[in-house]
Amino acid sequence: MGAWIWWMIFGMAIVTYIPRAIPLTFLEGRELPEVVQNVLRNIPYAVLGALIFPAVFFIQENIWFGVIGVASAFAIAIAGANVIFVILGTIAILSIYGLWFG
């Protein structure tokens, strides 16, 4: 593609690294105000909600893939299965669905 692609990859690498590295290094050894700490502790669960919905409905053109997939994943997880079994079980259910109705 020419030299520009390497400059672009270099640029992308820098701007991807900055938001990852600055908080982790800058905040090391610093005590944040308690209210900020509490909000930060909420972030992981909020992120999960936002990462799952609504994107999961659009993984395939057929919206049912996402609907059945996410429902299966919740069912398997609520039954108490380990993360890896949630993944494999959900893939298995969607494979069967895809082979029969896809």
Binding site: T16, L32, I43, V83
Partner: protein, 230 residues
């Protein structure tokens, strides 16, 4: 001190490695059809290691967008990681700055969620290294493989495997949700905000995830301080 070290991290990261498999394979394939060589496609996965941003860059290259603008767009898509690594910092054991600068490279949406939802107090640096090594290995290896093979998985498998990362997010969320109304509300409110931004088109994906996450985390914090929830 063998507990929760590097090999535990590898085990916890295996879910991500499985989830990255179809995504990286497809990225390698798309990079090839976009015109990137094997070296260029693999180099992008080696140096950037950011799924969403890499996918978007391919469509922007095809659209003939200026490389400098693609870099700016990459930054915007990744701004949400400021929030994630700030939150992760609260969970990580104290460590030398150079070590943190090193593993910071490996923080993606997926490694963040696996690390940040680990039960217990502080996460060891070696555990984070394990999670990252196996995820990164999968991402780079399967990018190259996707480009080399030049084909994706059989259609039914490709379709069913596209659920993998979402199933992982669900598998990480549910154990914390059980009997914890606060966790349920956090996920639900962020999901609703993000859906609102998506369907109205008010914010692009990168911003939408960050704004909905932050809004939910602040709202729930305000409510729970008043003693209404959890």
């Amino acid at each position: 001190m063998k507990e929760h070290g590097f090999s535990s991290g590898i085990r916890a990261g295996a879910s991500i490695a499985i989830g990255y498999f179809p995504v990286a394979l497809t990225f390698g394939l798309l990079a090839k059809t976009t015109g990137l060589s094997l070296i260029e496609a693999t180099a992008m996965s080696i140096f950037v290691f950011a799924g969403a941003a890499q996918y978007i860059s391919l469509s922007l290259i095809t659209a003939g967008v200026l490389p400098a603008l693609i870099v700016v767009n990459t930054f915007i898509v990744n701004i949400r990681h400021f929030l994630m690594t700030a939150a992760l910092n609260e969970k990580m054991e104290p460590a030398a700055r150079w070590k943190k600068a090193l593993y910071a490279f490996g923080i993606t949406d997926e490694t963040f969620t696996v690390l940040a939802t680990q039960p217990g107090h502080k996460i060891r640096t070696s555990f984070a290294a394990g999670v990252i090594v196996i995820s990164y290995g999968s991402w780079v290896l399967f990018t190259a493989l996707g480009h080399l093979i030049g084909a994706s998985l059989p259609a039914f498998l490709q379709a069913s495997m596209s659920i993998a990362l979402y199933a992982m997010f669900v598998g990480l969320l549910v154990p914390s949700m059980k009997g914890n109304r606060k966790v349920v509300s956090l996920a639900l409110i962020a999901a609703l905000f993000n859906s609102l931004f998506f369907f109205t088109g008010w914010l692009s994906t990168g911003w939408a995830i960050m704004v909905s996450t932050l809004a939910s985390a602040i709202i729930i914090e305000l409510i729970s301080r008043k003693g209404v929830a959890a």
